[in-house]
Assembly symmetry: C2
Homo-oligomer: 95 residues x 2
């Protein structure tokens, strides 16, 4: 029994699913100051290319995982822009 | 000329390299409050499995990209733990 594809599948679920707690925390705290905008933008560009790659290879897991991740990281970019004024407030009580 | 492998290569470089600005920002600002610890831990677990997957498939790009990413995200976990006391400070001036 060859476990390799299952390891890849679980790896993909974990790395894609990892965005969920970040999205939830950012939505809940309404703070995104410590998230690097460059990271979010580079991740989105990279995942858009993974999506194109998945489409070229007709690979459904690649297509689904990257579509989901792009949605999450685009949401984080939107929240970071939206909470920027709040994040700039000089005295930023920890909530 | 088939562009598909180059798209995959560029996608991998972007998604792996995306950690660099986050590591630099966190190191510079000494703040990691808005980073989700669950995201960092799940990413590390997922990438450890991608690394195992790459070793099983003997795929050097997968091995190199995930070793690099694990180093970056382990560094971010270490910084998040180290800066936790600072991040808990009630009045957290924006620097």
């Amino acid at each position: 029994m060859n476990l390799t594809p299952y390891i890849g599948l679980l790896a993909g679920l974990l790395t894609s699913g990892a965005a969920i707690p970040q999205v939830l925390q950012t939505y809940r705290t309404k703070h995104a100051r410590d998230l690097s905008m460059w990271q979010l933008v580079l991740l989105n560009l990279g995942m858009a290319l993974w999506l194109v790659y998945g489409i070229f290879l007709n690979d459904l897991p690649l297509i689904l995982a990257n579509t989901f991740s792009i949605a999450c990281y685009t949401g984080l970019i939107a929240m970071k822009l939206r909470y920027a004024a709040r994040d700039r407030a000089a005295c930023d009580k920890f909530d």
